[in-house]
């Protein structure tokens, strides 16, 4: 018998021995703690998900789970950032196709409420991402366009366009 197994056999209580005096109490407490943890985690997650969806909060990873939840029609309204240059109007699009850059376009709608300094910084950042030299740009417009998709084609027909905001970079 090695030293290790000898220690182990001495430490292990024989099967016929009575349980430790507090063994039952400890086991009961451990089982109660297991049940509390199970309920807390499971019901906590479910309640958090339901509450977040009910109040429409978006604090990722808590989200309202609005996936395609709005009805689409043939008409859609989009916001475009357009740079006015000497060569004409250029739609501002990130040159790098990575998702974290392209999806920043979702923040166009925040431009109207942003303070002037932040608005200027945002527009300049978008021009940089699009690879447009700010020195060549006289004005950047935020256009709201209402357009209709013609059935049977992939052609959008512009119904109306209005300039929501102008920023000088």
């Amino acid at each position: 018998m090695t030293l290790r197994t000898a220690h182990a056999s001495r430490a292990r209580r024989p099967a016929w021995a009575a349980p430790w005096p507090d063994a039952t109490a400890r086991a009961t407490a451990a089982a109660a703690a297991d049940r509390r943890r199970a309920r807390g985690v499971t019901y906590g997650i479910v309640l958090a998900l339901l509450l977040t969806a009910a109040v429409q909060v978006e604090v990722w990873p808590l989200t309202a789970y609005r996936l395609f939840s709005a009805v689409r029609t043939d008409t859609s309204t989009v916001l475009d950032l357009v740079a006015e240059t000497a060569d004409g109007d250029v739609t501002v699009l990130p040159a790098h196709p990575a998702e974290p850059l392209t999806t920043t376009a979702s923040q166009y709608r925040t431009l109207t409420t942003a303070p002037p300094e932040r608005r200027h910084a945002m527009v300049t950042a978008w021009l940089d991402l699009a690879g447009i030299d700010t020195a060549t740009v006289s004005t950047v417009r935020l256009d709201r366009t209402v357009r209709t998709l013609e059935p049977g084609t992939d052609r959008w027909v512009v119904r109306s366009r209005e300039t929501v905001l102008e920023v000088v970079p």
Partner: protein, 321 residues
């Protein structure tokens, strides 16, 4: 507490509570944890997270769990977090430090996914994996030795993951009803979704156009998706319908990818990681080998109470799912 008496709602709540707390086999927890870790590992390994560093600070949205980070993280830090997450995946899959490994992998994945989505648009591709895996972070670590014992600490975590999965799918359907009503499925909605999104289809616009131009087909797709999402808790509550549910969500998300090019593969993999092992009888292991029943093993919780694998309690709800 008498579970068999009282109003039906209370009886149902008691039945759910009993099912949650019923003892479960350690190998099921290990299987679900391992598969979820692999999904996290796949997501961590197959994306260039350094793109986050290219986003200017002024265009970074801070309404998420990483909103406290005001300075854009440099590329080297993003790669370090990615590597740390992959080490966590290895630990979780290797079961040397299973729970600690999953915690490390989950933290790294959640942080990177939150930063990835900090561009002003709510991104849902990774949120299901993050939410479902969270249920396992506080689970006990089963012993490394192969055990045949069933215990409450090993039974509830996979069921908690199943509950999170069911709730998320239900909410995606419920929000469609809430904001659009039945018109979401019965009107022209899906036809216009297809027409507006076909530029993303990996198979080109022609066939998407053909589907969109047959109104009954988009309506069938939308109706099927809505019905599947709203009934997810029912599919996942019964062991025999869990694998059909996984196949159904694979078909749904697969069609979204084929039509629109949107990659919800993480949702399919997460659903499979939880629902497939949980579709097996408690005594059967996912990759074969002797389970608790095959080994003639004993069952019971830490307190010594015993239950059979498929025992049906007086309420009629199988306790081991």
């Amino acid at each position: 507490m008498t579970a068999t008496t009282g109003p039906p709602l209370r009886r149902a709540a008691h039945a759910v509570d009993r099912a949650l707390l019923a003892p479960g086999p350690a190998h099921r927890l290990l299987e679900v944890r391992t598969l979820l870790a692999l999904v996290i590992g796949l997501r961590l390994a197959t994306r260039d997270w350094t793109a986050i560093a290219l986003r200017p600070a002024v265009l970074t949205d801070h309404v998420n769990v990483m909103g406290w980070l005001v300075v854009p993280p440099p590329a080297w830090l993003l790669v370090t977090v990615q590597a740390a997450g992959l080490v966590g995946v290895v630990l979780a899959v290797g079961r040397t430090r299973g729970r600690a490994g999953l915690v490390l992998a989950w933290c790294a994945y959640t942080a990177l996914a939150a930063l990835w989505g900090s561009s002003g648009k709510v991104m849902h591709y990774d949120v299901l994996t993050v939410t479902v895996a969270f249920a396992l972070l506080l689970a006990a670590d089963p012993p490394r030795a192969r055990t045949v014992e069933q215990s409450t600490p090993w039974g509830w975590p996979p069921r908690a993951a199943l509950a999170a999965l069911a709730t998320v799918y239900f909410l995606t359907g419920a929000q469609k009803l809430r904001h659009s009503g039945l018109d979401w499925a019965l009107g022209d909605n899906m036809s216009w979704v297809l027409r507006q999104g076909w530029v993303g289809s990996p198979f080109g616009p022609g066939w998407v156009q053909a589907v969109a131009d047959h109104p009954w087909l988009p309506q069938a797709l939308a109706g099927g998706a809505l019905a599947l999402e709203l009934t997810a808790p029912l599919w996942l509550a019964v062991r025999s319908t869990r694998i059909p549910f996984v196949l159904a969500v694979a078909a749904m998300h697969g069609s979204i990818w084929a039509f629109l090019g949107l990659d919800y593969s993480a949702w399919v993999l997460t659903a499979a990681a939880v629902a497939v092992p949980m579709a097996l009888p408690p005594g059967r292991r996912l990759l074969g080998g002797p389970g608790s029943r095959a080994a003639g093993g004993r069952t019971g919780s830490r307190t010594g109470s015993r239950t059979d694998d498929d025992e049906v309690r007086p309420s009629g709800v199988p306790v081991s799912r």
